[in-house]
Amino acid sequence: MLVALGALTKSAQFPFHFWLPRAMAAPTPVSAYLHSATMVKAGVFLLARLWPVLAGTDAWMWTVGTAGLVTFVLGAYAAIFQHDLKGLLAYSTLSHLGLITLLLGLDSPFATVAAVFHIINHATFKASLFMAAGIIDHETGTRDLRRLSGLARAMPYTATLATVAAGAMAGVPLLNGFLSKEMFFAEALDVAGPAPLLDRALPYLATLAGMFSVAYSLRFILAVFFGPPPSGLPSAPHEPPRWMRVPVELLVLACVVVGVIPALTVGPLLDVAVHAILGERTPAYSLALWHGFNVPLLMSVVALGGGIALYFALRRLLARGVDGTAPLLPPVDGRRVFDAVLTTTTTRWPRAAERWLASRRLQPQLRWLVALALAAALAPALTRGLTAGAVADGALDVGLLLAWCVGGACAVGAAVQAKFHRLAALVLAGGAGLVTCITFVWFSAPDLALTQLVVEVVTTVLLLLGLRWLPKRMPFRATAAGARRALPRRLRDLAIAVGAGTGLAVLAYAVLTRPPAPTVADFYVERAYPEGGGTNVVNVILVDFRAFDTLGEITVLGAVAIAVYALLRRFRPAKESTEPPPQQLQQTAQDVHDDVLVPGVIMRAMFAPIAVFAAYLLVRGHNLPGGGFAAGIVFTIALILQYMAGGTRWFEERLRIRPVWLVGSGLALAAATGAGSWFFAHPFLTTHTAQVTLPLLGPLHLPSAFLFDLGVFLLVVGSTGLALIALAHQSVRAHRAEREP
């Protein structure tokens, strides 16, 4: 159905016909090409090729047949009233395409033969007519049928050619158009479709349309080439140059030859084309010129005579008529309808939707997002039901319960305090993170716990550094009116939050009480050592099985660090934050370095042990909890300690390696490790494990994944270091900015 719609639009069938006459602005050869040969024919061609698959249903016959019939008759009718030469030809093209579509829609093999034949014929005579129109336009400077007249005297040769081609278009005997039109008439007579009334009307409608096409062909010839000598033309007409005529000559020759001896000329070509569509259903057809006196011949005669009569009857009307409007047809401008539809659907509705739904404010957006997620999760739970699973609950661990009492309290406390007591909220959120970490340990995820713990530390340090630049917020007594207005909003948010929390809790419980289904995880556990060469399955998944994901992930991490760095290079703190906060002044006044002398020494001394610990985590990661992520962040913590002990300036002066380089080299190392396996004819990121025995330390497990993990390590150190240093550096810069205004 959709294919048919597309094909109908492409071939400019009713009700999608309006674009074709509009596409007449192009130069004439382009129009010839467009109209007669390829573009619009593509749709018909598609219909023809899909005919064996799609045809045979009533729906096909109704849509395609009706569209074709309407276009056929209306196009022919409208063509009579065009004043533009090319407009006339365009509407006639519409009509002929309608005819072909109708033939395909008639759903009989013989009609399909006629359709294919007409595709060929139409291409020849319409192309020659378009070129003739082009010649006329070129030589006279106008295409207005009311101004053109009597050109046969000036260009007899062109006139002859155009007359023959127009005769083919009208279906005059001895020309090719006559043959396919005869076939069509014959087919129109013995069609047996689902609607008897339509079947009976079809021959009459066909004859009517035939009359119309005779009329417009006649008009094309008579108005242009006959009558009084032309006057007031933009340029004096004369025969075109030889090479402008040659294509027309060839095409018209084809019209005549095919018309006189069809079986010898076009027969083989048609045979191939028809067999391509119909295959074994190809009917026996005859391409003879003379089939004897029969009803189709009578119809042709009626059409010819009626068309001539019609033309002379309408002649005076045509001379006065307004361009492009046919009487009795409702003046519906297809293009305007199209534009209106387009404007409405692509501009007005989206704008209205934007007005109703969109907001530049973040809060409503987030509220919609959360509410939508909630609704999406709630809908299946309500329709399909959500029950707890069958797995029996184990015993309660009191320690876990206590931990979660604390964790829950921390979370709620953080939520309450985040507005006015940021530091307290940060500490409380850290508490919640810590309980999360404990949960990971509790339930057999040491890698997660380790990573969560160190990330927690770094995040907290990062947020602490950021706190300095946020505005002071004093608790204020809200006015009664303000509080009244805020209350419903807060209640609504509370409801959403509680809803989300409850939903997630119920969902989690439902999952937890069901037995696990077999997943790909089993594969990982079984193959981790034999194929990955490591015993820590989580790490093996990260650096081996799913190493490509990890590579993408560390790329993101590096990009984020660089984005942070770039954002902070142009950082302009708010005016009120540029001055050192009172606490800092107080500290400086008391000469803070003496105060922290002892801890400072310890912190500096801690660097080496922590760095060794990081290296240990890195090396053992493949077999035991650890790995590049955790090790990298641990090493960053070592750096942060130096920072805290020595201060920003001291640290930056002594930092030999630029973090940006670490980011780059880490990423390069990880990627190069992956690419290395290509040299051994293995897929990207295949791991090879080697056991190296080091002096003193004993055997060392050294897979190539270790190099990958080392890349991860370097990148994590670089990224986190970069972000932290860039953020901490701001306090130095701000002071400087303050001093040199």
Binding site: S444, V455, P471, Y529, P530, T535, R546
Partner: protein, 115 residues
């Protein structure tokens, strides 16, 4: 019973996080994001079911029995999620600091609401 505790914990974390996400001040949103990511990470982790004393460290021999170990897949997913969560938190923090410097307010819309 441990399942109830963990599920409830996830719920409390998620509720606190969502509440903070809907607040008007940037710092609240950062903390909200942080709490929400705890909840989501725990949830993903929980889809591997709760097992005690079954860390997925297999013996160095072929043919480990998957049933004897905790599901490593959610763990690997959550591990990366933790690190990415850190990255997004850092980025969000810096963006909001820059916005604060640029607009002079820490309201999420970049301007104080019309009182």
């Amino acid at each position: 019973m441990n399942e109830i505790v963990v599920a409830a914990g996830i719920g409390v974390l998620a509720a606190s996080g969502v509440w903070l996400l809907l607040r008007p001040r940037t710092f609240q949103v950062v903390l909200g994001l942080s709490l929400t990511s705890y909840a989501v990470n725990l949830f993903i982790f929980a889809t591997g079911r709760l097992r005690t004393g079954a860390a997925p460290i297999v013996p160095p021999s072929a043919g480990a029995n998957p049933a004897a170990y905790a599901d490593p897949l959610p763990q690997a997913l959550v591990l990366t999620a933790i690190v990415i969560g850190f990255a997004t938190t850092a980025l969000l923090l810096v963006v909001l600091l820059a916005a604060r410097g640029l607009t002079g307010t820490d309201h999420v819309d970049g301007r104080e609401p019309d009182a």
